[in-house]
């Protein structure tokens, strides 16, 4: 983490606030805190923000707020950051059916790591994974913190179509495909949740800076949840993240 945040210029309509030059939960939590603080302050002229692994891009309208003014406001906020109350991140549960047609590569993953399928599921569902950022395709979460015990290289020949909701492993990363797309991830399961639905009130389910927790479910449960989502009465399981005391 940098001693001092860097303010980088990205044209005359965006400023990048950079907190460090590595991928770490501590840096990412700063990105989240700064984004919430800016949001709370309601600075006129800020259009939107793009949080990423270790920086926050602030898009602004120079016709409403010029470079000097926004820079000053952001730096003032930086100084107050320790005194602004930032709510704890939310953990959202991702019900996932593992193996069989839901996760055709789970045996590859087990074999590659000398584990049983049950052990793979146990390890994959044990942790809460930080959503560092969303990108690549709408709603795709870049997750951190997967256990190296289940790390597996990508497929040698990528699939031409992976259906939305598929949960996979690529190297030491785990992720969920929000929409149908080609890809080379080892598929271990599938969630009936929709990470992206353009016509829903909240089109994207996940948010950078929050966490997800995979929960193993049976096929019967999968069908039930799928039905509930279709009828718009599924209730998402969420809880505040327990923060370690430092």
């Amino acid at each position: 983490m940098y001693e001092e945040m860097k303010y980088l210029t990205a044209g005359e309509q965006a400023i990048v606030i950079e907190f460090g030059n590595e991928i770490s939960e501590a840096i990412n939590s700063k990105v989240r805190a700064m984004m919430i603080a800016i949001d709370k302050k309601n600075i006129d002229g800020i259009v939107e923000m793009t949080p990423t692994y270790r920086s926050l891009m602030v898009h602004y309208n120079p016709l409403k707020i010029d470079y000097d003014s926004i820079l000053k406001q952001l730096k003032d906020l930086e100084n107050q950051l320790d005194y602004i109350e930032i709510p704890r991140p939310t953990v959202i549960e991702i019900p996932t059916a593992y193996g069989n047609e839901f996760g055709p590569d789970i045996e590859n993953v087990a074999k590659h790591n000398g584990l049983t399928v049950e052990e793979v599921i146990k390890i994959h569902t044990a942790k809460e994974y930080l959503i560092y950022m969303l990108g690549f395709t709408p709603g795709f979460p870049y997750l951190g913190g997967m256990d190296e015990k289940i790390a597996t290289p990508r497929l040698k020949t990528p699939r031409t179509k992976i259906s939305g909701g598929s949960v996979g492993i690529a190297g030491s990363q785990t992720g969920i495909y929000p929409i149908d797309s080609p890809g080379g991830w080892q598929l271990i399961g599938k969630t009936p949740l929709k990470l992206y639905d353009a016509y829903r009130d909240t089109p994207i389910l996940l948010q950078a800076g929050n966490y997800i927790k995979f929960v193993a479910i049976e096929e019967k449960e999968y069908v039930k949840i799928e039905e509930a989502i279709k009828n718009n009465h599924y209730k998402y399981n969420t809880y505040p993240k327990e923060m370690e005391v430092k």
């Binding site: 044209g11 965006a14 990048v16 939107e48 898009h59 016709l63 950022m133 969303l134 709603g139 353009a198």
Partner: protein, 343 residues
């Protein structure tokens, strides 16, 4: 309900507005028109909100049949528009009668043209925008480019159609599109990832637009730009007009459909006021970059804004109060003369 029918779709004809803002943090591209100046002026000419959806046409224009009277305006690259058999001017409001057919000859200059319809295009607003995002299959008409047989609904005009006649953009405001393009940039956010020599190369050599240029980005060919140590970074946000330099050292200018984030170094950013020049560039065109400060870029943006306000005032002031037609005979030849009195 007013509507138009697409008799032929052209090369790539899309419903676009000012863009889909507020979703970049979720990985959703902004989309929207490539040439924002042409888009806004087209809407002003037909009495719409400046952000209203228009048709963006690329290189080959569509054929359109109007099922109702309508006022349209065509701006941007010169596609040589024709109504029925007769050529019509660009950058003016044009009264179209029920049954008229609009077509285009060929791209005389530029690369993208825009048609605004009085009343706007009545498609569903998806995630706060009417813009088509092709890869995400959302927005516009069924989330895709237009095709033969499509029917688009046109909204109710805000003003009486006859009051919209005669709106003309004064020639001094109409941009000229050339094959050599000077583009102003602001350095950053990763200019420190380049050697002094690399920055100098970037700012002193011409770069040619390659065939790989679309709504996502423009790949350029030219002198290799030297990095200090590679072109990869930990992914961060990408602003409109960002100039990415991957490891191979050649620039890619990020346009309307760009991904919201990416992992390549960005040497600089094309200023918003010059982005229309990129939007109108074709393969083979030469681009030269020059550096200005953020403050200068913001000053230029204000000047462009003032120019748009001036155009709006001059257009609206030219409202036609009355029209008289005369039949004249000069030296034995007959002439039909139309005299329009403007306010």
């Amino acid at each position: 309900m007013n509507q138009i029918k697409i008799l032929n779709h052209g090369l790539l004809t899309l419903v676009q507005d000012g863009g889909r803002y507020g979703y970049q943090q979720f990985g959703v591209p902004v989309s929207g028109v490539m040439d924002s100046f042409a888009h806004r002026i087209a809407n002003i000419l037909v009495g719409n909100d400046e952000n209203e959806a228009v048709l963006e046409m690329t290189i080959v224009g569509p054929h359109i049949e109007f099922e109702n009277d309508c006022v349209i305006a065509i701006t941007g690259g010169d596609l040589l528009p024709i109504v029925n058999e007769a050529p019509i001017p660009m950058w003016e409001s044009i009264y179209i009668k029920e049954g008229d057919r609009l077509s285009f000859r060929y791209m005389k200059s530029g690369c993208r043209s825009y048609i605004a319809f009085s009343g706007g295009i009545d498609v569903e607003v998806v995630m706060r925008s009417k813009s088509t995002y092709i890869k995400g299959k959302i927005g516009g008409h069924e989330g895709r480019p237009l095709k033969i047989g499509d029917v688009l609904k046109i909204g109710k005009p805000k003003e009486n159609l006859h009051k919209l006649k005669g709106r003309i953009v004064p020639p001094k405001y109409i941009p000229k599109f050339t094959n050599t393009i000077d583009v102003r940039i602001v350095l950053g956010p990763q200019n420190e990832y380049f050697t002094e020599k690399g920055i100098k190369t970037f700012l002193s050599s011409p770069y040619a637009v390659t065939n790989e240029c679309d709504r996502m980005g423009f790949r350029l060919e030219g002198e290799t730009i030297e990095h200090v140590s590679g072109g990869d970074i930990i992914s961060d946000g990408i602003a409109l007009g960002a100039i990415q330099i991957p490891g191979h050292g050649k620039p890619i200018i990020m346009m309307a459909d760009r991904q919201a984030t990416g992992g390549y170094t960005k040497i600089g950013n094309v200023i918003r006021s010059d982005l229309y020049k990129i939007a109108q560039a074709k393969p083979g065109d030469q681009i030269r970059f020059s550096e200005i400060s953020v403050k200068e870029a913001q000053q230029i943006l204000k000047e462009v804004e003032a120019k748009i306000i001036a155009i709006k005032q001059e257009c609206v002031a030219r409202e036609i109060v009355s029209t008289k037609q005369f039949h004249l005979k000069i030296n034995g030849k007959s002439y039909e003369v139309k005299v329009e009195e403007v306010k």
